[in-house]
Amino acid sequence: MLKKSLFYIGMLTLIASMILSACAAPTAAPEVTTAPATEAVQPTEVVATQAPATEAVQEPTTKKFTIGISNPFISSEYRTQMIAELIETNKEYMDKGLTNELVIESVDTDVAGQIQQLQNLMAKNVDAILVNPGDVNGLNATLEEAVKKGILVISVDQELNVPGVYNVGIDQKEWAKTSAKWLAEKLGGKGNIVQIEGFPGHPANVVRMEGVAEVLKDYPDIKVLASDTGKWDEATGQQVMSNFLAAYPNLDGYWTQDGMAIGALQAVIAANPPKWPIAVGEGRCQFLKLWEEVLKDHPDFDSVAVANPPGVSPTGLRIAINMLLGKQVDKTKLGGVNGLSFVIPVPIVVTKDNLQEGLDICKDKPDVYLLDGIMSEEEVLSTFFVK
């Protein structure tokens, strides 16, 4: 019986795919037809770009740099914003004649798939690779190969411990500490709170929760009643918060992060407890707008939003280009395990006092827009490079 139903499922999929392929065929076709042309051009191109990349270039106008991007996860607004900003920022340098179009490898894929992305970037003879790693250690050997080939490798958003690989990102622990400190002070160092965390075991979540715990250690009168995972998902965050509110109706506050804060606040709105807890929010326009709505009915409500900026990647692009141009990095400004990490400051913290400022940024942005900051060329040069 099962075999038969499986067979039917297979047939249905086939039929559906035939319909799809019929509509989609024209898209695939041009790709094939362009092939011979590329073939003809390729050999000369390869020769031209084979020159060692990291050497200081005397006349930047003679050679344009090609920078590759590797991103293994596309279903998040953070990554979408990141890719869009990278393309945008690179245009500046293209106009100056410093870089070619970015070579972007960005599809949902696993560790082996990202290794393939990186290998393909190497095969395309890029001068630098910006990688947002999908695995903390799984790419190490491949990245080391790239470094050995003389490619400048920068890991953005997630710190890696690979010799020769630079990191550009915010300090995740400090990021979490900022909102945790704010919460502790708003509570006057006393009260009952709950925590909603991201994926247990995800490196960013682990260091963030460490940061929160470090802060709370200094406030012995703040009691963490419970902690659960909202899986960085709005709906799950809402569900978890509803359960917490049912169990602890007199909650004084809660700490949460990225994506789940909107769900948690919606749960509070739905439950409407006699005393509203002090809420940790997130730096997303949708949250700020919800916050503004809530304030109309509950003027005492208080929250904070610490931006987690996708702009670290375009900042990383600026750093990469300046390094390729042979400018000297001020090693004393770098941190991290290998002393190869560029730590980017959090661009904006929104509290009740500057909520309007945040809302102004959001005015012409979609709801999913994340409060952001890209360091300018001058800021990058004055912060990280030898003058």
Partner: protein, 322 residues
């Protein structure tokens, strides 16, 4: 029912279409990436494709026997985490071999568990292996809650950069698999496997040990998943409990692209091997064709869908003509 010659051909040689497909895909890839056949490029491609190839071979056995195994990703994860935790970044070669042996045993045990539920207790394969996939995935998470650990780089390099006689290691492994399969096919086990997948009831009545054949396909699948887990661990050099879960669907897609229908009883392992390689090559094509970033996923999916649908379309036209 009249059969067109194409249909006759594909029934006789189930891998035929997949071989045509891989040749076409290779030619397109070659035109976009002229150094595709250089030793280093071939090797770096094969070492990435091999984990899916191994997984697809195991899956092919199960599907041939009329079942399906969606727990293989979980087995890959267990093997990966066990190797990463037990061998460690500074482990010795002896320790590595010991745990490679233990990994294979783990694969066999996991497969036997699936086989027991499905062949002996007669539970639904989809539901059972879906459930055990969480069992295995959960165990992996228990072994290694946070990504980390790993195997010594020198051992990883055996997998990553060995090219005996200038030919990448992957070629040898694939050749051995195909030879083993050709032998197995000619044995009694081979014909039993096809008869169980084709018509289990009839097979039972003619004295084929259906239960044991079914059971064995899951054990083989578990063993191949363990080999795949060893390969991916040597490729990445590190442990991550989530590493296997996205690989399951890739393996099943590879089997189907390779001309093995999910209804069972038809196909072999050559097709699925070609299917797994083709999926990797498709990724290369998308990568080298300078597809606009926002279209990359769509274009890749479209090519896969076309590849899946092509035999059906050819049959459709064949029928119209006759």
């Amino acid at each position: 029912m009249r059969r067109t010659s194409w249909e006759t051909l594909t029934t006789k040689y189930p891998a035929l279409f997949s071989i045509i497909l891989i040749v076409v895909a290779l030619l397109i890839n070659l035109s976009l990436q002229p150094n595709l056949f250089s030793r280093d490029t071939l090797n770096s491609n094969l070492r990435v494709f091999l984990p899916s190839v191994l997984l697809a071979v195991g899956q092919a056995f199960v599907i041939l026997g009329g079942g399906i195994d969606i727990s293989v990703g979980g087995i890959v994860s267990i093997v990966n985490t066990v190797l990463a935790v037990q061998v460690g970044l500074n482990g010795s070669v002896e320790k590595m071999w010991l745990y490679v042996g233990i990994s294979l045993l783990i694969g066999i045990i996991c497969g036997a568990l699936n086989g027991f539920f499905i062949a002996v207790l007669r539970l639904q394969p989809i539901i059972t292996t879906y459930a055990t996939s969480f069992l295995f995935g959960g165990l992996a998470l228990f072994v290694l809650p946070n990504p980390g650990g790993g195997i010594p780089q020198s051992i990883a390099n055996i997998y990553r950069s060995t090219t005996p006689l200038g030919i990448p290691l992957g070629f040898y492994i694939i050749a051995i698999l195909i030879l083993l399969w050709q032998y197995l096919r000619s044995t009694r086990y081979g014909s039993y496997l096809y008869s169980v997948g084709g018509k289990a009831d009839a097979a039972y009545e003619t004295g084929v040990p259906v239960t044991w054949i079914n059971f064995s396909t899951y054990v083989i699948s578990g063993l191949m998943a363990a080999l795949s887990g060893i390969a991916i661990t040597m490729l990445s050099g590190s442990g991550n409990a989530e590493i296997g879960s996205p690989m399951t669907l890739t393996a099943i897609t590879a089997v189907v692209i390779g001309g093995t229908p999910l209804s069972g009883g038809i196909g072999g392992i050559t097709g699925p091997i070609m299917g797994a390689l083709t999926l990797g090559i498709i990724q290369n094509i998308v990568s080298f064709a300078h597809v606009n970033t926002w279209w990359e996923t769509f274009v890749k999916a479209t090519i896969i869908v076309v590849a899946l649908a092509a035999p059906g379309i050819i049959n459709l036209f064949g029928r119209r003509k006759s």
